[in-house]
Symmetry: C2
Amino acid sequence: MRKLKVLLMSCLATILMSCSLLGNAAESDGWQSLFDGKTLSGWKQINGSAKFEVIDGVIVATADETSKSSYLATELTFGDFIMEFEAKVDSPLNSGVQFRSVSKTSYKNSDVVGYQLEIDPSSRGWTGGIYDKNRGKWLYPLSYNDAGRTAYEKDEWNKFRIEAIGNVLRTYVNGTATANLSDNQTSEGFFALEIESTAGDISKLGNQVSWRNIRVKTQDLDQERWSNGKTIAEVNFIPNELTEGQIAEGWELLWDGKTTQGWKGAKLDSFPPIGWEIKDGVLSVLSSGGAESRNGGDITTLEEFSDFELEVDFNITTGANSGIKYFVDPTLLKGEGSAIGLEFQILDDDTHPDAKKGVAGNRTVGSLYDLIAARNLTELKRDNKYFNDIGYWNRARVVVQAGDVQHWLNGIKVVEFNRHSQIFDALVAYSKYSKWQNFGGWEKGPILLQDHGDLVHFRSIKIKRLNRVEEK
Amino acid sequence: MRKLKVLLMSCLATILMSCSLLGNAAESDGWQSLFDGKTLSGWKQINGSAKFEVIDGVIVATADETSKSSYLATELTFGDFIMEFEAKVDSPLNSGVQFRSVSKTSYKNSDVVGYQLEIDPSSRGWTGGIYDKNRGKWLYPLSYNDAGRTAYEKDEWNKFRIEAIGNVLRTYVNGTATANLSDNQTSEGFFALEIESTAGDISKLGNQVSWRNIRVKTQDLDQERWSNGKTIAEVNFIPNELTEGQIAEGWELLWDGKTTQGWKGAKLDSFPPIGWEIKDGVLSVLSSGGAESRNGGDITTLEEFSDFELEVDFNITTGANSGIKYFVDPTLLKGEGSAIGLEFQILDDDTHPDAKKGVAGNRTVGSLYDLIAARNLTELKRDNKYFNDIGYWNRARVVVQAGDVQHWLNGIKVVEFNRHSQIFDALVAYSKYSKWQNFGGWEKGPILLQDHGDLVHFRSIKIKRLNRVEEK
């Protein structure tokens, strides 16, 4: 039934889109064309040396051999809007359209910064995803939306739509909802058409990207908004807030952004008097020289959890070590040392020595600490994790249901295992956790943030309790 | 379609059974009653002290407190036959009916020996399975036949049927086919009704087993045979032979029972001139003091295999160590030492020191050697493996498909893992195999029998190649 509904909505959306595009020339209903069909009037090139030109009523860009992307940006900026365009991209070239974007001499040498609707002809099929150009990395990869991954038609003309209304940013590819993001980093900026350089890949040399029928609407947006955009998975980066959709889905904030309510020292009766700081919506474990749980010590939720989906945003400093633990038993290890439980490792892989310790990388960021090394399980043929640089926010996500556990780092699944499986027991038996009976298999436990003596920031700590389902 | 067919057959079988039982009193169509409804004439008690008596036309046995099972056996013996009876067993008592069974003063103090149709009211639901009383253990546990596990009605009258024709032994519970076994250990023997003792379990004290409508037919058996019995999984213990059904399914003998054809030394161009012996349908690795691959050395198949189902029967001597390896690369480890590959461990857990070495039991019989300790994964709430004592044959089974690997020992799944999974890589990284790149992940390899310097016998080595299916 739900599938049928989605299908109907998708059809309806396509029909609506076709109708609205027909009205393009007339600029009816408040739509405003951003391309006159003949000249690049109203546009300016930012960065890169790829040539943008108008050929037969179409803006055409041709990939050149430099190492930088080239952008053709609108001279005007836009805040709330609905924007549509058509694009055709020669595979294997990657492309995209920036929105609410800026370019400042003071930041990254005037490079383009901001949201990009991705056009990605590769096998992962993330066209319609939202990438955070020159800030973090992926805000809405299509790992969140499998159905959206097939909306794009390779090497054909495709119809795109961006709805940016308040903090809600949604994209559509050929009528299919592809991204549903809540974010408040930039409320206004230009549009920019992007073509990547060939960057030495001769298979891309001469590849072209074409755009046409580019138009925008800035008034009466609520009526114009499509309804299928809110039916797909929602990703929310607004700090320490839940969206209406998340509240309806059962998400709860584990931290209120202001107080210590709901938390305590892992081995204390109350919140640690030292070692932790709350300031400007950020919960920070303070630096004390890198030792494990010797300053304020770990903190845990007062509540315990069984099956859940957990999200924690974290922002590390150079060389930092910390972690998010779950299924913790704080009573096991008395005295000094971090409490015992499964751990989503937080680490500066580049400079902390632990990254090269452990076994086969099982102490790197995103790993199940000391047990399973994080690797990219979402994208076939790509090995790399996506870690946002020091000073940027990263998102940890832990999903636990019916024994199955997944770690996600910035929208990429990096670890999966079943905590009740024979092979998990075999792995634990080899590790330093072998001495804790049924380690990782306990029925429930609190969520823990680790004090490893390094300055690490946390925010947007939220959880959705999942219904118990029977184990396979 | 296949389900429908099975359902129809099952219905038909039930109808046929009902009809045939109606004719019981008349002894029509060559059926012969084994119980006159009034006395125990034609029966004699063997072992145990439970009382067997006739009450209201039914043979009733009542569990007593001794530690031995009690049997009421026919005075006559039977070779080929079809036998039917009804039985009602008070839960949680276990019961069964012996067939082609013997009792000899020279063996186990005259205890009953031979095939038993099991009546098993426990949660695993193995009623209708065939147990090898006082020889091996399970010949046909219902781990092979999930559909059969629900045929039995607890604490009710149930209809049973045994077809023993030549080497083919089949059982039915309420018309559902439950076991389909080929075995040639005993061609003739008595029937015996079994009641187990309470063995100190007071919940069983006073539990009764009742039998009625016991009849047998010994002529014109082929016409009388039900057809649904051959539709369920077949288990074959006839040494070094395939049944017609197995040949049709694609099984191949890896060893012909007589020659060295198809095998060679793992690190040699031909079969080892010493260290291995072929005699009376048994392939034996000879004792040379317990060292690894120092005498004849390991032997491997000439052929390589990818996805397959492998069966190897093995029979160890006291304190012995050996193994069956798969996905082997004999070129990796030059010189001395066993070739590198995944290993179904063969060990005398009771007396070989390796059983207590390794990590958490991962060197015990049935284990994925040095990686995953074998345990009973088939029966919830039971931890024990079923190992047939020194001098008896045991069956190793390895199933590999789409990365998923299972070890089975005597019909019980004891190990499962995915050889291409992240957690398998994490486990290998902890083990001594970490130095062999992609250990266990290779596309194909020969099957290997290990020379560990101890006398171990092999026979019935067979394989079924499985079609490649796409990995999840």
